[in-house]
């Protein structure tokens, strides 16, 4: 039987999981390679498991939302990602959706808390 902390953790992860793509797309308005993206997300308060980040980047690239290129930096080859035009357009629509959802949730939760 999961205890209260386990239940909260699982709900918290579920809540954050949906917003990760938005955070990743948002950060990739400027160019990043995997490690720098993860560090930037962590500094912004969005922790993401590296095991989840790279497959997500591949998937977003396969969907045409990101473009990537290999380039040498700091004496090592790194893969740099940034938003594609389709990615920018999709991000803009997702942001509208996110803000509308936030407003709705605020409306519900402000009355409760």
């Amino acid at each position: 039987m999961p205890n209260e902390t386990d239940i909260f953790e699982s709900l918290r992860l579920e809540l954050r999981r949906g917003s990760l793509i938005l955070a990743v797309l948002g950060h990739l308005r400027s160019e990043h390679y995997g490690y720098s993206l993860r560090t930037a997300l962590a500094e912004a308060g969005v922790e993401i498991d590296e095991g989840a980040l790279y497959p997500m980047l591949r998937r977003l690239e396969a969907q045409g939302l990101l473009v990537s290129e290999w380039r040498e930096e700091e004496r090592r080859n790194k893969r740099f990602y940034r938003l594609s035009p389709l990615g920018s357009e999709t991000l803009a629509r997702l942001v509208v959706e996110w803000r509308a959802l936030n407003r709705s949730l605020d409306g519900i939760l402000d009355g409760e808390l």
Partner: protein, 317 residues
């Protein structure tokens, strides 16, 4: 770096060849960046143990590589409830057909003591095969289509009628009355007239004499269970526990009695009738044992669900 190379090689082995080099190169850069950041923080090179701990935290090679696979599950959350429903139905149907076939074979042999041994394939093998077949079918629906059809092509009007309603008070009174009649008959207080034609009559065989007291105690207990269900219908857990004990007791008594193979003397009838009656009663009692055990299992399942729901709601029933 030997550990890092071994780790990346292990991940690479699990990746599709087309993307192996690319993914491994990217992971290598990520891990090297992590090592450099950690060494900057420590002000010294990372020890082997620290590197090992970092790789463990990064994830098992199978898990890391698995995230890149297109197929992440055999049966997804949409199809899972269908798989579970299909599996239950298939197991019940297969087990029922198996038991009926075994009973028919046993009936033709005239030996009911080991009637499940009469079929070449064991029941467990049949059930495991059924489990595998249903799981493969559900995985095929998940993987190669049919999912949309399963999820959208259904009609509310084809849903089964509501069942599982709790018994009404009238039904509970009837059950108690029947139990009391049985108790009275067993104790010799209630008598039934002979309804057999042509002066044929039924007499209890010797086997029942040895079981008089256990069955009397059982009959009293059954009346008690029915009485509790009638006057305290809200005591769901208590009623379920009583029913589990009652059904298992009945199964044990019937299972022991059925070994005798002869239960009533059909006085005034040909021997063939006696043999048929004995065979019929063995089948009836065997099915009764099965019914009691299945009923107890069903009640145990309901009890577990009541307990689980109470625990989830954080309040007793």
């Amino acid at each position: 770096m030997d550990l890092l190379d071994r780790y990346l090689a292990a991940v690479g082995r699990e990746l599709p060849e087309a993307q192996r080099a690319d993914v491994v190169a990217e992971l290598r850069d990520d891990l090297l960046s992590m090592i450099e950041a950690e060494e900057d923080r420590l002000g010294r090179p990372q020890t082997r143990a620290e590197l090992e701990a970092m790789l463990v935290a990064f994830g098992h090679p199978l898990r890391v590589a698995g995230r890149y696979r297109k197929v992440q599950h055999l049966i997804g959350p949409d199809i899972f409830p269908f798989w579970w429903a299909w599996l239950r139905a298939a197991l019940i149907i297969v087990a029922t057909v198996y038991v009926v076939l075994a009973a028919v074979q046993a009936f033709s042999r005239g030996d009911f003591r080991h009637f499940l041994q009469g079929i070449d394939v064991s029941l467990v093998e049949v059930l495991v095969f059924t489990f595998g077949a249903v799981t493969l079918a559900a995985a095929a629906v998940e993987r190669w289509g049919g999912k949309a059809k399963v999820l959208t092509q259904w009609k509310p009007s084809e849903l089964p009628p509501v069942r599982g309603k709790p018994p009404s008070q009238f039904e509970r009174v009837l059950e108690l009355a029947m139990s009391l009649v049985f108790l009275g008959w067993w104790a010799g207080v209630v008598h039934f007239r002979n309804w057999m034609p042509n002066d044929v009559r039924l007499e209890m065989a010797q086997v029942w004499a040895a079981w008089f007291w256990p069955i009397l105690v059982y009959a009293v207990f059954e009346c008690f269970c029915r009485f509790v269900a009638l006057v305290r219908p809200g005591r769901v857990r208590s009623i379920l526990v009583l029913n589990i004990v009652r059904r298992l007791t009945a199964a044990a008594i019937l299972g022991a009695v059925v070994q005798a193979g002869h239960f009533v003397n059909v006085v005034g009838a040909p021997e063939a009738v006696q043999a048929t009656v004995d065979r019929g009663m063995v089948i009836g009692f065997s099915l009764g044992v099965l019914g009691c055990v299945l009923g107890a299992a069903k009640d145990a399942w309901r009890l577990w669900r009541v307990q689980r729901d109470d625990a989830l709601l954080g309040q007793p029933a």
